[in-house]
């Protein structure tokens, strides 16, 4: 009889440790997801801002000004989080790729007075967006992997936190900025 009680206590302790550690892990992972989403948001906003500034700088031809300005404005006006506004941001990526799809186009911008600064900023911005999204999706994957665990699911260890979502977005680096 005594042995059963000891066994039961040991089992209970093991389960308690598992639960506490998994809850802690989930807590940290959710935090990483939240930070990642915020960081992605910051980078997307910066990219759109640079694009808008460039569009209104008067350096570009009117055709480019309009498509680039419109794309940037659509992205800036959208107040949803990056996962929800992925389509709008993908459109901006498409515009940037169309405008700076060749190295000559970027070189032509650099030759202009003040163009170098825009080229640097934009190149930095598109690269950082790509990195941020990769890191964010990686955190989502890690978090979802733990939430899929059976015990964690049954016991509702994640509480009421919504299941984090991957950010599916076209964030290709415009060919003109590759390796810059």
């Amino acid at each position: 009889m005594m042995w059963w009680i000891i066994l039961a206590v040991i089992l209970a302790v093991i389960i308690a440790i598992y639960l506490a550690s998994t809850a802690g892990r989930l807590d940290r992972l959710h935090k990483r997801v939240d930070t990642g989403l915020l960081a992605l948001d910051v980078q997307l906003r910066r990219r759109a801002q640079v694009a808008e500034e460039l569009a209104t700088s008067g350096l570009l031809d009117p055709g480019t000004c309009i498509v680039l300005g419109q794309g940037a404005e659509n992205a800036l006006a959208d107040e949803r989080d990056p996962v929800d506004r992925a389509l709008v941001e993908s459109d901006l990526s498409g515009v940037l790729d169309a405008v700076f799809g060749t190295r000559e186009e970027v070189d032509a911008l650099i030759e202009l007075d003040g163009g170098q600064r825009f080229a640097d900023q934009l190149s930095g911005a598109v690269h950082r967006v790509e990195l941020s999204r990769r890191f964010y999706n990686d955190s989502v994957r890690a978090c979802r992997a733990v939430r899929r665990q059976r015990l964690a699911r049954w016991l509702g260890l994640a509480g009421h936190t919504a299941l984090p979502r991957m950010c599916e977005m076209d964030d290709r680096i415009p060919a003109g900025f590759e390796g810059r």
């Binding site: 809850a23 930070t35 990642g36 960081a39 930095g124 950082r128 990195l131 890191f135 990686d138």
Partner: protein, 384 residues
């Protein structure tokens, strides 16, 4: 940006990871960031003003060799203090998968973390048993960097997820400006080997047999061997006639390494694998020394499949001898490789590599959010 970097290995001992951390920190400081490096060692032994000493490392048997690392609660307290005082926007840990200061920093930090995986080391069986606590530490890292494609593959296999490949950097100008050793360059061909002489994966055991073929064709050839290790053991079973052409320099300083490159006609890298990147190749190329390397994957990539340096069949002394003979006879080819190699090395100059790392920092940080010390226990999660 305020950046905290954690170096896992002794600051006063030479080593690849330490050199990487030093170059990265100095490049970041040069471009206007505030950088603090936390590294094992005593403050009195450290010259660099940006390095904070974390205390003397201890010798611990680990994975079949002896690691000099900082572990334990005192070290943990130092790491926490460093994080609290630093008010960093991002903390960058190096080699966080092996027990070290970097792992402790990961444990003790809360906020934007970046991790760099250097070697494509296999995780031992024991480590798999410790998977959960290790994973909870590594899961905190939001931006993962691997220094090579191979390191990335190992990382992804063991931990899942994703990582960005950012190669090692070289401070090209340091190598371009060096002077040869006294008495060099010689009239007759001089070749150079660098690395531990009694470690199989560095490959000296293929180069010495190849020498016995080469001394027939080049009677005045000299092989400079620079690196620590047991000389008796390395020359065991090697013909005395061959050893007459070998000059063991022992362990040499960074400055002498540059001079050694400048003294040699060809630098030989006979490594038989395990080497995840081959930074030494780039250093030789920065010095303008033609490279002959084994055709392992990492080296093929650095040498652009033979365009930026010559290759021989891995682990094959005869192939090494043939290719080396060919190269030594062909001066114009040596000059060509010297030029193309230098151009290639410039692509890995620290200035461009550091910019890529900066982008990773920016991609994980949020304005106004600092890295804080995580005071709660972690294996057992947070109670309540």
């Amino acid at each position: 940006m305020r950046v905290g970097i954690v170096c896992p290995y002794d600051w006063v001992a030479p080593g690849g990871v330490k050199a990487h951390v030093k170059d990265l920190a100095e490049e970041l400081i040069a471009s206007g960031h505030e950088v603090s490096v936390l590294a094992p060692g005593e403050q009195d032994d450290i010259e660099e003003p940006y390095v904070v000493a974390a205390g003397k490392p201890v010798n611990v048997p680990y994975n079949g060799s002896v690691a000099r690392i900082n572990i334990g609660l005192v070290s943990l307290r130092r790491v926490r203090k460093w994080i609290q005082r630093g008010e960093f926007d991002v903390v960058h840990v190096h080699q966080p998968s092996s027990p070290s200061l970097a792992m402790l920093a990961c444990w003790a930090a809360d906020g934007p973390l970046v991790g760099t995986w250097h070697m494509s080391q296999e995780h031992s069986r024991a480590l798999k048993g410790l998977y959960l606590p290790l994973q909870t530490v590594l899961e905190k890292i939001s931006g993962r960097i691997a220094v090579s494609e191979k390191a990335r593959q190992t990382l992804v296999e063991h931990l899942g997820g994703d990582a960005v490949v950012i190669p090692n950097g070289v401070v090209c100008r340091n190598f371009a400006e060096g002077e040869p050793l006294p008495g060099y360059p010689r009239e007759a061909p001089t070749i150079l080997f660098l690395g531990r002489i009694d470690e199989d994966r560095k490959g000296l055991q293929y180069l010495l047999p190849a020498m016995s073929e080469l001394i027939e064709q080049h009677p005045d050839i000299e092989l400079l061997v620079a690196g620590p290790g047991d000389q008796e053991k390395a020359s065991e079973g090697i013909d005395r006639r061959v050893l007459e052409h070998v000059k063991f320099l022992g362990m040499i300083s960074e400055a002498d390494k540059i001079s050694a490159f400048k003294s040699a006609d060809v630098y030989i890298a006979p490594n038989n694998g395990g080497e995840s990147f081959g930074i030494v190749l780039l250093e030789a190329m920065s010095a303008g020394t033609p490279v002959l390397a084994s055709d392992i994957e990492a080296f093929q990539r650095v040498l652009l499949e033979g365009k930026a340096g010559a290759l021989f069949a891995n682990e094959d002394p005869h192939s090494l001898a043939v290719e080396l003979d060919k190269l030594l006879r062909d001066k114009p080819e040596q000059e060509r490789l010297s030029e193309v190699g230098y151009e290639r090395a410039l692509e890995f100059d620290w200035s461009s590599v550091a910019r890529e790392v900066e982008r990773v920092y920016e991609a994980v940080t949020i304005p106004g959010v600092k890295v804080e010390a995580d005071m709660s226990g972690q294996i057992f999660g947070r109670f309540g």
